[in-house]
């Protein structure tokens, strides 16, 4: 990555699609998604804004993929849940539609909005709009990126020689993976080795 990054990556026309997820009643039970859609429609460069019952469901992903083609979208905003939840899902979806996955941005209007402000509907709605606008603002400046490939050392380490560690080591080793099993005590076995017969088989634990 030695080439000079472009300061102005967006020479072409910007076409942003915005998807507001209901997440069943998780989001829609607190705020009307349609209001956010209406708001998003008024934002610059947004050519498509719509709500969807479950953006992460097949139907939701299909909608986004079809829209990318139909509306020639080159940026996507998904206002739904946490990036820790579904960022990989939507990145994969836009990638399937031929868009660089890094041109998709999520706004977290569930964990960090409707769930946290369930008793302040007006506040939650205003926040959902702002978070969506903020994602729209960000996608304007997103650039196409490629994942970085790194080589993999095909060797595992398992830390802890109790029953979980032994199980993991055996499974790895039986797949042919070199595995180092590290145990701080002089013997592996962990707590299990100290036990008398164990449930449910009532056999010796060792």
């Amino acid at each position: 990555m030695s080439e000079k990054p472009s300061a102005n990556p967006n020479d072409g026309e910007l076409r942003i699609g915005v998807y507001i997820c209901h997440c069943g009643s998780n989001i829609a039970g607190v705020i009307p998604p349609k209001d956010v859609v209406e708001f998003a429609e008024g934002l610059p460069d947004v050519v498509r804004a719509t709500d969807t019952l479950y953006a992460c469901a097949d139907s939701g992903q299909r909608l986004i993929k079809e829209d990318i083609k139909k509306y020639k979208l080159n940026r996507v905003v998904v206002s739904a849940c946490s990036v820790r939840m579904h960022e990989p899902t939507f990145r994969a979806a836009v990638a399937e539609a031929g868009l660089n996955p890094f041109l998709m941005e999520m706004a977290n209007i569930r964990e960090q909005c409707t769930w946290a402000h369930g008793h302040d509907r007006d506040g939650a709605l205003q926040k959902a709009k702002d978070l969506t606008a903020s994602a729209v603002a960000k996608v304007r400046f997103l650039t196409e990126l490629d994942m970085i490939n790194v080589p993999v050392t095909q060797k595992a380490m398992v830390i802890g020689g109790g029953v979980a560690g032994i199980s993991a080591s055996l499974d790895l080793a039986e797949q042919g993976i070199e595995t180092i099993l590290v145990e701080k005590e002089p013997t592996i076995g962990g707590v299990m080795a100290q036990l008398n017969k164990t449930f449910p088989t009532m056999d010796c634990s060792i």
Binding site: A156, M157, T187, N196
Partner: protein, 629 residues
Amino acid sequence: MVDAARQPKIDVRAFTEVEKVEGFVGNFKVTLREKAKYVRADRCNGCGACTLACPVEVPNYFEMSLAPRKAAYVPMSQSVPLIYSIDMENCIQCYKCVDACGALEAIDFSQEDKLVEEDIGAIVVATGFSHFDPSVMEEYGYARYPNVITAMEMERLNNSAGPTSGDLIRPSDHESPKTLAFINCVGSRDKRYNPYCSNFCCMYSIKNAVLLKQMNPDVDITIYYMDIRTPSKGYEEFYDRAREMGIHFSQGRPSLITENPETHNLYVHAEDIALGRVTEKEYDMVMLNQAAIPQPDQNHMSSVLNVAQSPGGWFMEYHPKLRPIDSPTDGIFFAGACLGPKDIPSSVAQGSAAAARASRILHSEEWDIEPTVAVVWPDRCSAETKGRACGLCVKACPYGAVKLEGDKAAEIITAKCHGCGGCVAECPEDAITQLHYTDAQILAQMRALLAEKPEEKILAFRCHWCSYGGADLAGTSHFEYTANERGMKVMCSARMDSDFIYEAFRLGAGGVLYSGCHPQDCHYITGQVVGAKRASRLKKTFDRMGMTEGRFRIEWISAAEGDKYARVLNEMQDVLDNIPPEELHEEIERLKPEMSKRLKNFPGVPGVEEAMVYSDKLVKAITSQLEAK
């Protein structure tokens, strides 16, 4: 156990500790400390002659100190690996073991701890759990009453390989007890010690009761419980069987055990919930089913591995439902009770699960990592422009990923860069940017969030790994906080550029939260340190400016601290609520020129000016919509 020892692909390194973990998925470098055993593994044949010869006896941890071992020892006869060691802390160096070992010459007093480096593609962490020490619960008299024992002690006393060859006896008089009480939830489901359910103790006490009853049907066993939890396959049936065998179950948590000072018999005081009556029953022996607790060195391991801990100290999974085996660090996985108390079947299952997660990586030649790395604009770097390298980027980088030589512009070694953004924020020339988190992107986001009534808003900068997770947890736990919060996410607090904070206040933000991981949890080793230093500098600057205390706040919030995230935001809202609006307005206006002064170079950062132009358009679109309403 034995299978593991026999499996040729498994290299068992017992008596070894993990010292350091560096690198990233597919490319970890792990430093191990192989502790000196004073016995050469390549020569020891496990004959045990050294143990026989050794004159020193010390308590054996493996037998819960109920039996001694020698200073030359293996913890148990089936130890894997069966290599003896000399416990140098207790060894009196009489060298009798050396004589006993004879021609094998396996004993080597010159051994020292050895540091070994290993290249590893993926790591499974299965460090297990420890046991709650019930002596802190004075009401049960453990460690004062000889006949009150723990479940682990019971395991050894009842074990044919144990110190009594499986004969259960009372410590006070070595008689076999006729009446026993088992007490569940000792130190668990107890907010004074550990609030969580310890998961396996119900089945565990039933198992022990059944075993004892099978050995001796005359023995009378009462299990005191609050709830019996038998959620897995076959568990409830086993519980039924225990009841049918005549094991007594008494619902009600004992509040007190007293002892007859002469007979050392014990009296368990409890309410029989079904009767609503207090009972005081006499027993020969009482077993306390103590809670599982995190390993004593779990905090240490957490910082070695750079992984976060849940409340209570267990390791924290990346997502409790969707990625229950993953750590937040790609390539590190968890299995077993280090994540929380777990029984054997679940631990085995998690071991397999972790192996499966890890083998995705280990079976690949290459692995993808996020491209959110730092990139230099060489024409802005002072090394190139002024021939004078300031070196701040080098100082900020926890990974040594910045190459700075002579008067050549700094260069980022992409393979080493983990993408914390510390160098980007530290660079005084704004010569470095971070892909996917450029100044322009962040500025555009901020301006959108502060488009309307900024003085009412609290702009919250959160790092991706901890505070953003904390905010998520606040939501999933439905800990409600002020809806005036407006969240911004960057990868690490190191990326939270002073310019962003000045800009937020220049735009008129009511409050700004600067939050990231606790120092020991930081995903980027020392990223948090870089961020924290900057934050405290900012705090001092704002104090000097006369900003109301609490409008700028620094908090370290882990992904497990949803309650803290909510509390901090609500406290910040209180600060704003307590400033009369006209005073707040006056303060914001008064400080704006101060902020602008400090932002004079900001518009020159590539992309920033464009972001300003664009966000003006966006802000107009937002405000006009609101006005239309």
